[in-house]
């Protein structure tokens, strides 16, 4: 009798699992589609670019795009990590300006608006990284241990850091960055900019880390359900602080690339240019959820490339200067809507 019952139970289980398996296979297809949601948009944009301007598809223009977006891309990786864990950090743009500013100020001569300390440029890079660590740690402590709201903490931090960035050089822009300091942003390997290679590496490493490292998985767990992660014994607070630190360090590296590219650190770099909007836009267009726990590096990278291509087309077409911002904003909104339409309910949140 009990044998019959067991058999019956096993049979029901089989049927149910077969049904759910079919359901899930279609779900898997849909999720793959979501990851590639931006691909058709990108293809259309590239066709548009090629039609509008014969220069668009040349190697020099494409590597130019690559160099332009790599600094932004590295910051987007940082912001994506923070978004994935269910946080947000507005101050990445200020770190992107302040970290290279402090370093440049300490290494260039007083005549180039330096502090006069003329430190070794390699030491400068260490200082740059240290600034990133310090800012991220401060944010993390205030938000995680101090239980302050991340939005307002990082907003306050943004203004503070941008003020320091302006203050130490009295509004000047240190220039004449020594070779090693400018290398990352200005050198090429063959025809390919070093910054593009490094940015691509950072994307790949971050993507693999998120997929295969237990801390990467912990980021998804915490962003997806913080209390469940805690109940499973994950050291939630430690990981969260760590991610804020990683995000700020990546922002500092992005800032180093930008400084090298233009071979000076403008007092407006970062906050003054308002790059945080592009950072958030790229991440969200790329399917990284502002609610946490959802998104990946493939999406984030395609968001960055999309913004870069649009910017490049506008530049090539000599879009009227006074209208650039308006067009930029419109493009971001359209891209968001497209991502939503293609990606379905869960995307672009």
């Amino acid at each position: 009798m009990s044998e019959i019952k067991d058999n019956l139970a096993a049979l029901t289980a089989d049927v149910e699992s077969a049904l759910t398996r079919r359901r899930s296979r279609s779900a898997a297809a849909i999720s793959w589609l979501r990851e590639a949601a931006l691909l058709p948009v990108l293809v259309v944009l590239i066709v548009v670019g090629a039609v509008l301007n014969s220069h668009f598809l040349t190697v020099s223009n494409l590597t130019g795009i690559g160099q332009q977006i790599s600094a932004l891309g590295v910051v987007v990786v940082g912001e994506s990590l923070i978004l994935l864990i269910g946080g947000m950090d507005l101050s990445l743009e200020a770190t992107y300006g302040l970290a290279p500013m402090v370093a440049a100020w300490l290494i260039v001569p007083a005549a180039s608006f330096g502090a006069g300390t003329m430190l070794n440029p390699y030491l400068g890079i260490l200082i740059l990284l240290a600034v990133g660590v310090a800012v991220g740690f401060a944010n993390g402590l205030l938000i995680v241990k101090g239980r302050l709201n991340g939005f307002i903490v990082t907003l306050g931090m943004t203004i503070l850091l941008a003020g320091i960035q302006d203050g130490i050089v009295k509004g000047q822009s240190p220039f004449g960055l020594p070779g090693p300091f400018g290398y990352l942003g200005s050198a090429d390997v063959g025809a390919i900019p070093v910054s593009l290679i490094v940015a691509a590496l950072i994307f790949v490493v971050a993507g693999l880390f998120l997929r295969y490292h237990r801390l990467g998985r912990a980021i998804y767990a915490i962003g997806g359900n913080r209390e469940a992660a805690r109940a499973a014994g994950i050291k939630v607070n430690r990981v969260r602080i760590g991610v804020y630190v990683a995000g700020s360090v990546l922002a500092a590296i992005g800032g180093l690339m930008e400084a090298g590219r233009v071979s000076s650190v403008a007092s407006t770099q970062g906050y003054g240019e308002g790059i945080i909007f592009a950072v958030f836009a790229a991440a969200v267009i790329g399917g990284v959820s502002l609610q946490g726990g959802r998104g990946n590096m493939v999406g984030a990278a395609s968001g960055v490339i999309l913004l870069g291509v649009v910017q490049n087309i506008l530049d090539l077409e000599n879009a009227p200067n006074y209208w650039i911002d308006a067009i930029d904003g419109a493009v971001i909104l359209v891209a968001l809507i497209l991502a939503r339409v293609i990606g379905g309910e869960a995307s672009a949140e």
Partner: protein, 514 residues
């Protein structure tokens, strides 16, 4: 006498559950009707229907003999009947007077342009408070009031709206003894002034003290309704539990308890020692509770909501920190409120609310199950989906987890299978002590039996100890002894399975021999 409220032939279904089956209920002016019943008997549903929050599927509610207002007309309902819920409904940022007149402030000037007449509002609030002898200042912000004072504000709000019928839903759940006394005085005073009161409580002794009549709900039916003077405690407990044959030893068939063969390897699980744990959280007070769970012992904790059984289990699991007291496993102090430390010490945790703490909905079943052992299964920090699934598969099979592959997001699984993931996650770490809180809540009967049998088998096989907090008596069948908590203290202990169902229920109500 025309009843202030009469409910006739009320039926309500939620999906496949028939929550209320033809309930008849009358509330008379100047009477206080106690409504009792076990969890899931239909009390909350009845309250929602009487307060005009959900419509009944069949039957009608009448006020003073008139048909009830339409469901959307909140103001009209509030003028007829007011409910003081378990969770306070006052707006913390507003003052007492503003809360009393929320949405119907006295105005100066006509129509939509009329401005709030602050002076009159405060004066009226003061007058009502004074009339009833309530002692709360009208211009205090409600956020700074005690739970008891907030309740007073809610009652005042009802009286100010002209309501002469009150529903009090577990009003003493969050009050300390003095507060309960004063609440009873107020209820008596209201009753004598002709207010009709429905008093819902888990505490039978309160019902005996304050109510004039009593009604018992069981499985959605009103099984008993009588004046208080005509029933005894035994009658109430019997009515709540059901027919005598169901009130026997706790079902389902208890597994043979005595002479349990222990782990042949002979590894003895460590003792758990909890000493003088004190904690105050919303609705629960634990006052200096101590207990010991010997290695391999399976101990049940039970009690009504707010009794502290759940909080105590959470503290042992490191999911909550006590205000004072300590938890030791194998004589080693576990850092309070540090779930990661408790896990390292060998404590597995099946949380009460699986949605909140049990799983990460977007991640796969295997990843959720192995979340407690990522350090163990990763090499240089790296771990792939395949390895996770290898580790999760035996547990998933053991618990008959039904999924479309172990990579399927847990969000897509049924409630019962989500619970299996939650249980598997706790078992994955090979715990020396399993802390389980209502491990079978919201799962179907077959899964329920399977989960209990599996907890029983695993503790026998591995010699792990079990601390099982549950208000479902069926869960306690697998325990060697059961501790009953009442109002944050250990009230009594049952040491010999099978446990008498009726005696257990009486004990949770604070009745019976200590």
């Amino acid at each position: 006498m025309i009843p202030a409220v009469s409910a006739a032939g009320i039926h309500k279904r939620f999906g496949s559950t028939h929550a209320l089956r033809g309930v008849e209920l009358n509330l008379l002016p100047g009477r206080c009707l106690g409504l009792v019943g076990r969890n899931g008997a239909g009390k909350s549903t009845l309250v929602s229907i009487l307060s005009g929050i959900v419509p009944p599927d069949a039957g009608a509610v009448r006020f003073d003999g008139q048909p009830a207002p339409s469901l959307g007309d909140v103001a009209a309902w509030r003028a007829r009947i007011a409910t003081v819920f378990q969770h306070s409904m006052v707006v913390p940022g507003l003052t007492v007077a503003e809360n009393v007149f929320l949405g119907r402030q006295p105005r100066r000037g006509p129509g939509p342009l009329g401005l709030v007449d602050w002076r009159r509002m405060r004066a009226q609030a003061r007058t009502i408070m004074a009339d009833w002898g309530f002692d709360v200042a009208a211009d205090t912000p409600c956020g700074s009031l005690t739970v008891e004072q907030r309740q007073v504000v809610e009652i005042t709000r009802a009286l100010a709206a002209g309501t002469r019928c009150l529903l009090l839903d577990e009003p003493t759940a969050a009050l300390e003894r003095g507060g309960v006394r004063r609440l009873f005085d107020r209820v008596r005073q209201l009753r004598e002034a002709g207010v009709a009161i429905l008093y819902i409580s888990h505490h039978l002794e309160e019902v005996f003290e304050i109510c004039t009549d009593v009604a018992v709900l069981r499985d959605g039916e009103l099984v008993l309704a009588a004046p208080m003077t005509e029933v005894g405690k035994e009658d109430l407990v019997t009515a709540m539990v059901g027919s005598p044959e169901r009130a026997g030893p706790a079902a389902p068939a208890p597994p043979p308890a005595p002479s349990r063969p222990r782990d042949p390897g002979g590894t003895q699980a460590p003792d758990l020692v909890v000493s003088s744990v004190t904690a105050a959280t919303a609705g629960t007070l634990l006052s200096g509770v101590s207990l010991t769970v010997r290695g391999g012992e399976r101990v049940g904790l039970t009690g009504l909501r707010g009794s502290g059984a759940t909080t105590l289990a959470r503290i042992v699991a490191g999911a909550a920190a006590p205000d004072a007291g300590e938890v030791r496993l194998d004589d080693r102090l576990i850092r309070p409120g540090d779930r990661a430390a408790a896990l390292r010490a060998g404590i597995g945790y099946i949380p009460e609310d699986r949605q909140a703490e049990g799983f990460v909905p977007l991640l796969g079943a295997a990843e959720n199950i192995t979340m407690t052992i990522t350090e163990r299964i990763s090499r240089a920090g790296l771990v792939g989906p395949k390895r996770r699934e290898q580790r999760a598969a035996p547990l998933a099979r053991r618990l008959s987890l039904v999924s479309a592959g172990l990579g399927q997001p847990v969000r897509e699984l049924s409630g019962g299978n989500q619970q299996k993931v939650t249980v598997a996650r706790a078992l994955a770490s090979d715990p020396a002590l399993i802390v389980a809180i209502t491990p079978t809540r919201g799962v179907d009967v077959a899964s329920k039996e399977l989960l209990l049998a599996e907890l029983d088998r695993i503790t026998r096989q591995t010699g792990a100890s079990l601390l099982l907090a549950s208000d479902e008596l069926d869960d306690l069948v697998i325990c060697d002894r059961v501790l009953v908590l009442v109002r944050g203290e250990i009230f009594t202990e049952f040491t010999e399975p099978p446990f008498d169902r009726e005696a257990l229920i009486a004990a949770t109500e604070g009745l019976g021999v200590r």
